[in-house]
Symmetry: C2
Subunit: 413 residues, 2 copies
């Protein structure tokens, strides 16, 4: 990709209203632009990162047998009246009327829609289990949107719903999804904990949250380094340093919630008449689970945990580009030609390469490159007359002078 | 993909309210499900086709130097007041208020948002040209939503906006995008015409529509088989059979609009103060173009032109699966094992394969397979004891008995 055509409006100054590092770098690096409070455009760089997260989510969910669909954002009020949540949901639900005065909401979640979509089909235990997810735009009218992509009003979520003929089968899938979540957040380069949680307004019996450890987190979690135990402070009240039920020592930390998994049970299937005939021909309500990931929030959490004073240091699987190739002076034909040759060879090797073809000063190019945060940077400057380029590792900020062939080999490896 | 986990709720009966072939097959084949008038869920099969169209659109636009971003659906009224369209747009725009009583709309189009997103960045001719697109959910509160995905209220569009320092550069890009559109619709297997059009409410100087020829089309177009000439009947009034200006004979046809390209000029940049400094340091309004494709409508138009009495005959690049592998009797271990072997080999060859692992009667499996419409079907039945399977071409409905190795070779070829 040629940078002149990419639209990366980097900012030299730290935006005044951006309180967190992730929000600052998202704005400064030209990843997102705010359109209204809590409402953002994902600029080309930001969209590339978002799509990388989405791809990881898809790969891990497809691997355990989930199928992807896409439900609408506009949901008729009747469905929410069936479940009883139309009146319960409160001011966070965005509501509107169509030209015929029928009521709709902009979906904050899709339990009602997925139940209505599947209930005719799931008429027999033979159709179960089923696991359906979407990656879709959600709406929540936050009282005070803040921290950029952390608490927005229009945001991207992955929501998965599973359907079962027995509690045992739900339990089995719940564990399978929890493992897929571990894989997803690990691949996203996050330091996180799975914690026991309160199941809140969605209802159900058992649930857990996936929390990214961060000082800007809005939840307090309690965990121990010596065991897998971790819990939300709403669930268990243990002072830091005190002994936990299993004998280990409690630590407190702040967490950003990036995932949540619930055993819903039959709350929605009973309210909305989603029944199946079991092996004995008896009518039973479908047993459900639901599982969310804040896809756009993952982007933000990844930045909180992966940055330095110059910009974002992207985990390799999230980086918008693998390599950034920069000819220092565009008027120097030898530099441009060598850089183009490197660019094309790396693209042929299947890498995502950004080529800085802009006629800008070297300082501008380098500070923009720091903000873009590609794991590798190849700078083609004066040394090219001796066949040498500079290869920089963004994570360590270490640069080495190597031949063009060495640079290509090191980066593709 | 194993069919038991895919969620394909096929219907035996033609739904009463579906008037067009495409709407009928989308519902009968388990591609979409209606949630409210003009509002649909894309079920797994439908989403696969939609994503195939999206991929073709991305490939062709990226190839000419466009960059992808993602703008929000929720748009603040202030932007539309700047352009003067808030009051003009009428009842088709869905409007709502947030909890602080601020007005928003659900975007039917994004000229205002893209202009506001780019206007600070495009301060110099050096930043031009720029071509930015998104594939995103749009809203239009149709008086009478109909024909399934043809005239919906929530639908998927690709909208591209280009920015230029001169009219010549806009003209050049307009032609380049028109060519990309030709490539896109050709790859989607459509028989279409590019026609001169009225530029309507969006405003601007020159525009053209891409029309798929179909009896259910809502526009009348005039064209000739011997020249490239084609026009919307709103633009030119010529009786069928009469001579056109260029001497060829006029034909009339109905068309489904799947794409529209506009030379916007400076309508939005002047209204919204999007200016740049030209080479002489003079302030000029940015010259713009805008270009839409009805992505979900393409799916529908492709079905209108590619079906038989059994179901959809997908153009190869849109098909939800390349091959459908069907063991006839799941209790026959030899059939299932051979089918699994074929399934795995085809997957390793990089094909998208659907494996019918359902314990259903052969008749059910076959009629579902007709509705799925994969270009190739491999049926593993009794013949497997002699190493033979049936290979069926969905387009011709011709079946041949071949060895397993031959089937794999023919399909991967």
């Amino acid at each position: 990709m040629r940078q002149s055509l990419l639209f990366v409006p980097t900012l030299r100054e730290v935006p005044a209203d951006a309180e967190t590092v992730s929000h600052q770098y998202l704005l400064r690096g030209g990843y997102v632009k705010q359109n209204a409070a809590g409402i953002y455009t994902y600029l080309p760089l930001g969209l590339r990162v978002l799509k990388n997260v989405e791809m990881i989510v898809r790969e891990e969910l497809n691997a355990i047998g989930c199928s992807e669909l896409l439900m609408p954002a506009l949901q008729p009020a009747e469905l929410w009246q069936e479940s009883g949540r139309w009146d319960d949901y409160g001011a966070e639900m965005m509501r509107l009327k169509d030209r015929h005065d029928r009521q709709f909401c902009l979906g904050p979640t899709h339990e009602e829609v997925i139940t209505s979509v599947t209930r005719d089909y799931i008429n027999s235990y033979k159709k179960l289990p089923l696991a359906l997810y979407q990656i879709q735009t959600k709406y929540r009218d936050e009282q005070r949107p803040r921290f950029g992509l952390m608490r927005g009003r229009e945001f991207v979520m992955k929501d998965l719903y599973t359907f079962h003929a027995s509690q045992d089968n739900l339990d089995e899938w719940y564990d399978k999804v929890a493992q897929a979540y571990q894989n997803i957040f690990t691949r996203c380069g996050l330091n996180f904990r799975k914690v026991e949680a309160d199941s809140g307004a969605i209802g159900g019996s058992e649930s857990a949250e996936f929390m990214v450890l961060s000082a800007i987190g809005e939840d307090t979690i309690i965990y121990s380094d010596t065991t897998d135990f971790a819990a939300n402070s709403e669930v268990i009240d243990v002072a830091e340093g005190s002994q936990l039920p299993d004998g280990s020592v409690a630590k407190h930390a702040k967490g950003i919630e990036v995932g949540h998994i619930f055993k819903l049970g039959t709350k929605y299937s009973e309210a909305m008449n989603a029944n199946f005939l079991d092996e004995n021909g008896r009518k039973q309500p479908v047993i459900m689970g639901c599982y969310g990931i804040g896809v756009s929030r993952v982007v933000m959490a990844a930045i909180e945990q992966n940055h330095d004073e110059l910009g974002v240091v992207w985990p390799s699987q999230l980086a918008p580009f693998d390599v950034h190739v920069i000819p220092v002076v565009m008027k120097q034909t030898a530099q441009v030609e060598a850089a183009l040759e490197i660019y094309e060879q790396l693209q042929q090797a299947g890498l995502n390469v950004l080529f800085d073809d802009r006629d800008e000063r070297a300082g501008v190019k380098f500070s923009d490159a720091d903000l873009v945060g590609a794991p590798y940077r190849i700078v083609v400057g004066r040394g090219v007359s001796e066949g040498l380029v500079e290869l920089k590792n963004r994570a360590t900020n270490e640069a080495v002078e190597v031949t063009i062939a060495e640079a290509i080999t090191l980066v593709t490896k």
